[in-house]
Amino acid sequence: MLNFLSGGAKRHDAKHYPGFGLIGVLFFIFLYLPILVMIAYSFNSNKIVSVWQGFSLKWYFSALQNDGLMSAVRVSLTVATVATVLATLIAISAALVLSRGKDVKGAKLSETVINLPLMLPEIVFAVAILILFSQLGVQNGLLKLILAHTCFCIPFAFLPIRARLQGMHTNFEQAAQDLYAPPWVAFKRITLPLIMPGIFAGAMLSFVISMDDFITSNIVSGGGATTLPVYIFSLVKQGVSPELNAISTLIIAISLLLVTPCWLIAERNRDASL
C-alpha cells in the first residue's frame, strides 16, 4: 500500500511518477467518502443526523413503510421497464439495419439522429417535451414519462448493440445463409444469440439511465407519477434526514446489484474476444 506513496523499489522506473499514486488514493477517498459517510449515518439511531448515537435499523423500517416512497419506486420501476423494452427493441432494429443492411443510404445521418439525445443538454429536451405535451394535451403522467424516457434511452441501448454488431464476424451469418436458412431463422439462431451480450448491456444501461433521470422527470411529472429521484429531491429540499440516508443507501445497494453483473459480463466478453 505504501510503496506507491514513496516510490520505493520503482524509483528508477522512468514510467513511474511519484505523487500520482498519492493523488490516486486521495481521489478514491474523495469519490467514496461522501457515499460511505451517508451509508454510515443511515444506521444512526439519532434523529439529528450529524450526531452519532448508536446503531439502528429503524430508519430502514420507517423508509420501507413510507407510502410516498413506495409509490415512487413503483412508478420508477414501471417507467424504466417499459422504456427499456421499447428503447431496446427500437435500438436493435436500427442497429441491425445500420450494420447489416445492404446499401443503407445516409447511415451517418441516421446515427446522428439516433444519438441526438446525447448531444442535447437534458434541460433543453425536458423543456421541449413539456411544451409538446402541453400543446397536445397529454394527460397521463405515466405515459408522458414513458415516452420521454424511451426517447433518451434509445442511444444508450443503441451504442452497445451497434458496437457488438460491428465487432462481430459475419462468418456465421453467411454460413447460415449459404445453408439456405430463412433470414428470420438465421437471425433467431445466429445473430440474436451472438449480440445478446450487447442487448443485455444496452438494456441495462437504459434501465439505469431511466431510473436515475431527474431533470426531465421533474419537469413532466404530475399526479401519481412522481419518480424516485423526484421524490428524493423533494425530501432533500426539506433538509437532511436519517430516513433520507436510509433511502439513499438502499438505492446505492440496488444500483450496485444492477451494474455489477452487467460489468462482469462485459469484462468476460472482452477477455473472450482477446
Binding site: A14, P34, Y41, A94, P121, L228, S248, S255
Partner: protein, 290 residues
C-alpha cells in the same frame, strides 16, 4: 431497401416526434408572447430575447441589464473550471491506473465508474449532508476542536464546484485512461535513455500524446455541466443560479415560457458551438495523421 427503411422507421419516428418537433416548438415559443399566468400566446414578439440583455425599467425605458449575461458567464466559467479541475485530478489518476497490473486495472476502473451509476440526486445529496449547517464536516471539525462556529459551507460557488467535479469526473478519467493505454510505452523509455528527466518526458511525450483523451474528456464534462440543474438548486441554494435552473424556473414558479425557451436556445447554441469546434478539431487531427 424497404427493409432498411422499416428497421429505421421506429427510431426516426421517436426522434422526430419527441425530439425534433419539440425543439422546433421551442424555437416557435421563443418568438411568442408569454402569458403572465403561464403558457404562451400566439403573438409574435422579440421580447424574450430582449429580456436577456435589457430590463424595462420603472419608467418604461430600456436599460442594459447584465444579470442574465452574468448567469451565462458564470455557467461557462464554472463549467470550464470544473473541466479544468477534473483534468488536473483525472490525468494523474488515469496514468496511475494504467501503470497497474491487468487485474488491478479492471478493479480500479470498475471503482471509477461505479458512483456514476448511483442516482445523481443521491450523490448530490451526499454533499448536502456533508456541507450543511451542523453537517458532517462541521461536526467532525468541531470534534477535533478545529473550529468553533463556522459559516455554512453550502450555497456558494465552491459548493457547486465540488458537486459538479464529483458528479462528472468519471467522464474525464475514462477517455484519458484510454489514450494513455494506447500510448507506446517505448517512447517513454526512449526519452529516458536519451536522458530526458521525468518532468520533461511528461510534458514533451505523455501529455501531448494523451491530448485526444483530455480533449474528449473535457467536452464530456464541460457540456453536461452547462445544463446542470441539481447542483445549483441543492448546493447553490437558488441564490447563485446557473443556466439550467434559470431555464427550469421559467417553466415553474416564474411562468415565463418564452423567456425560458429563448434561454434554452442560447444554451443549445453554446453547446452546438463547442461540439462543432470539437468535431472540426477531430477532423483536422485525423487529416493530419493520414
Amino acid at each position: 431497401m424497404n427493409k432498411n427503411l422499416l428497421g429505421l422507421a421506429p427510431a426516426y419516428l421517436v426522434m422526430l416526434v419527441l425530439m425534433i418537433i419539440p425543439l422546433l416548438i421551442v424555437v416557435d415559443v421563443a418568438f411568442m408572447t408569454s402569458d403572465p399566468y403561464g403558457g404562451f400566446k400566439q403573438v409574435f414578439s422579440l421580447e424574450s430575447f430582449q429580456q436577456i440583455l435589457y430590463n424595462v425599467d420603472w419608467d418604461d425605458n430600456l436599460v442594459l441589464n447584465l444579470q442574465y449575461l452574468k448567469i451565462i458567464g458564470r455557467t461557462l466559467l464554472l463549467s470550464a473550471i470544473t473541466a479544468l479541475i477534473c483534468v488536473c485530478i483525472a490525468f494523474p489518476v488515469a496514468y496511475y491506473i494504467s501503470r497497474q497490473s491487468a487485474s488491478r486495472k479492471t478493479v480500479l476502473l470498475y471503482l471509477v465508474t461505479l458512483p456514476f451509476w448511483v442516482s445523481m440526486v443521491v450523490r448530490v445529496y451526499a454533499w448536502v449532508l456533508i456541507l450543511s449547517n451542523d453537517g458532517v464536516l462541521e461536526s467532525g471539525l468541531r470534534l477535533f476542536g478545529l473550529v468553533d462556529d463556522m459559516d455554512s459551507l453550502l450555497y456558494n460557488n465552491g459548493a457547486m464546484l465540488v458537486g459538479m467535479v464529483y458528479s462528472y469526473i468519471p467522464l474525464m478519467i475514462l477517455p484519458i485512461y484510454a489514450s494513455i493505454e494506447k500510448l507506446d510505452i517505448n517512447l517513454i523509455e526512449a526519452a529516458n535513455d536519451l536522458y530526458s528527466n521525468r518532468l520533461k518526458t511528461l510534458y514533451r511525450i505523455i501529455l501531448p500524446l494523451s491530448k485526444p483523451g483530455i480533449v474528449a474528456g473535457a467536452i464530456l464534462v464541460f457540456v453536461p455541466c452547462l445544463g446542470t440543474v441539481l447542483e445549483p438548486m441543492l448546493l447553490g441554494g437558488g441564490k447563485t443560479m446557473m443556466m439550467g435552473n434559470l431555464i427550469q424556473n421559467q417553466f415553474t414558479i416564474s411562468r415565463n415560457w418564452s423567456f425560458g425557451a429563448s434561454l434554452a436556445l442560447v444554451l443549445l447554441a453554446i453547446v452546438l458551438i463547442f461540439l462543432m469546434l470539437q468535431a472540426l478539431r477531430a477532423k483536422r487531427v485525423q487529416a493530419g495523421e493520414v
